[in-house]
């Protein structure tokens, strides 16, 4: 346990002090400021627009953070030979993976919390600027959406760790993670097309099988996207939250374990 805790702690510290993270935060803060200005382009639903822009800024910044700083913290550990300082401690390979993952998770949670709180400012301002009786915005859903953004990012962190344990270059790990992100963001929609059985569109059995495979194996990231709900104030059922959480837990556990298993076999000459 101490191995995992100590590694998670230094992983977090290393991440939070990364200059790139600072840059990402500055960019996000500028985006929030821009949001306040951009809402003046719209007519009535400006709280919705502010919430949409704020949440998108956070999702995008978080994605940049996880993909670039995540690869830096994990895949580059091997590139830059800093892994020796860790592996030579009484820390097993599995503990290494778990420790890294938890450190990344902590980084994500802290960042999203910070960005989330700042992001509420443009939304608050929009609410004060114009009273729209047809708006049913709710902070509860907004923060639920934030939590889900954090969950999605942690899942992606798990994916990064998985790829890093398999590949030897941090760049490959980066590309593979981005691919998983794109596939995971669209696999549900594509499967939806398949299920719809549109007229005049025939889908070969092979394509159908591939689509189904991709749907089940790759993570369903669109399930974590509650921007439409949060921006418009629609409620999300407890059942949905519970099942998505369960999916997240299991998928993340599987992928981190897979990474740990691969890491056990790996050598560091």
């Amino acid at each position: 346990m101490n191995g995992i805790i100590s590694l998670a702690s230094i992983t977090y510290k290393e991440g939070i002090r990364n200059r790139a993270l600072f840059g990402i935060f500055i960019m996000a803060l500028l985006a929030f400021a821009l949001t306040v200005i951009l809402t003046s382009l719209f007519m009535r639903d400006i709280v919705r627009v502010a919430a949409s822009l704020s949440l998108t800024t956070i999702a995008f910044s978080g994605l940049l953070m996880v993909i670039f700083i995540g690869t830096n913290l994990v895949a580059k550990d091997i590139d830059k030979r800093t892994i020796y300082m860790v592996i030579s401690r009484p820390i097993s390979r599995a503990e290494y993976i778990v420790g890294k993952f938890l450190g990344l998770c902590l980084l994500i949670i802290v960042s999203i919390m910070f960005l989330g709180i700042v992001s509420s400012i443009p939304v608050l301002i929009a609410g004060q600027t114009y009273h729209n009786p047809q708006s049913i915005f709710s902070w509860g859903i907004y923060f639920t959406a934030l939590v889900f953004i954090a969950l999605k990012l942690m899942l992606i962190a798990g994916v990064i760790i998985f790829w890093s344990s398999i590949t030897s270059t941090s760049f490959i790990s980066l590309i593979l993670t981005i691919s998983v992100y794109i596939i995971g963001s669209t696999n549900e929609v594509v499967k939806g097309f398949l299920d719809m059985k549109m007229e005049g569109v025939t889908i070969s059995p092979l394509t159908s099988a591939i689509i189904k495979f991709v749907y089940y194996i790759f993570p369903n990231l669109s399930a974590f996207d509650l921007k439409v709900q949060a921006a418009n104030g629609l409620s999300v059922s407890v059942g949905y939250i519970a099942w998505t959480l369960a999916y997240w837990l299991i998928y993340t556990a599987i992928i981190v374990s897979a990474g740990a298993l691969v890491m056990e076999r790996r050598e560091f000459p």
């Binding site: 101490n2 191995g3 805790i5 100590s6 590694l7 702690s9 230094i10 510290k13 290393e14 002090r17 990364n18 830059k80 030979r81 800093t82 020796y84 300082m85 860790v86 592996i87 030579s88 401690r89 009484p90 820390i91 097993s92 503990e95 050598e267 560091f268 000459p269």
Partner: protein, 248 residues
């Protein structure tokens, strides 16, 4: 009972694409006794680092047996007894020496107070107290090496495994490492280090082994075995020419 036992230890590397096999270590049989300072010497590429990495379970042997204090190398608890300094230590850029040592101590289950106390002592010993809160990437090469040594010692290990500990140090630094090894010996620690500076091995070690092209060619008691008048250097070059020159 010897603390480190290696029996016919071999390591063959396969280059992924060409499938070419490189035999880095060829049937090494060696023992290191508790409390001794053991020198591992040989030219570059002889297999010294490979052996050390096998001890740390960074790589697995292709064949042969390896045990440390009676335990297999893949048991993570073995590493609790080992303090390792790699040839060129790389640390996380943004951590400070203090945080590095905290990590080292905590990962070995040291309690909070022990960590604080030992950190202070070690940082003082290695002259790093002034820089203790500065990020490691701002350290000079000598400071990095010293920080690495502190990390290797924070958990008071029984065995010190040092891969080329003098490399890249200035004369002052080398003297400090030298004195450190002597002091560790006095404390009853076992020290296993590799070097290609024959003079250091001559002065520090109880026993030494010469590795050439992956094979052990000679094992000597430095104090006893060296025939009078011959230096270690002469013995070494003798072995090199006897083994028909060095592999590229």
């Amino acid at each position: 009972m010897p603390l480190i036992e290696m029996d016919s230890l071999s390591k063959v590397f396969t280059k992924d694409f060409t499938k070419k096999k490189v035999c880095a270590l060829n049937s090494l049989t060696l023992e290191v006794l508790e409390g001794e300072v053991f020198g591992f010497l040989g030219p570059n590429g002889a297999g010294k680092s490979t052996t050390i990495k096998l001890l740390l379970h960074l790589i697995r042997p292709t064949s042969g047996r390896l045990s440390i204090d009676g335990k297999a190398a893949n048991d993570k608890n073995v590493r609790r007894m080992i303090g390792y300094l790699p040839e060129n230590p790389y640390f996380y850029d943004h951590l400070s020496a203090k945080e590095l040592l905290w990590f080292g101590g905590k990962s070995c289950d040291l309690n909070h107070d022990s960590i604080l106390q030992r950190t202070d002592t070690l940082l003082q010993m290695f002259d790093l107290t002034d820089a203790e809160n500065r990020p490691l990437r701002s350290y000079s090469k000598g400071m990095v090496q010293r920080a690495g040594l502190a990390l290797a010692l924070i958990h008071d290990p029984k065995i010190l495994i040092l891969d080329e500990p003098m490399s890249g140090l200035d004369p002052m630094g080398r003297k400090k490492v030298f004195d450190l090894i002597l002091r560790l010996k006095e404390e009853g620690k076992t020290v296993f280090f590799s070097s290609h500076i024959l003079h250091d091995i001559e002065r520090l070690c109880d026993r030494a082994a010469i590795l050439i092209n992956g094979s052990l060619v000679r094992s000597i008691h430095v104090k006893k075995d060296l025939p009078s008048g011959k230096t270690l250097e002469e013995v070494f070059f003798e072995e090199v020419s006897r083994s028909g020159g060095l592999r590229e």
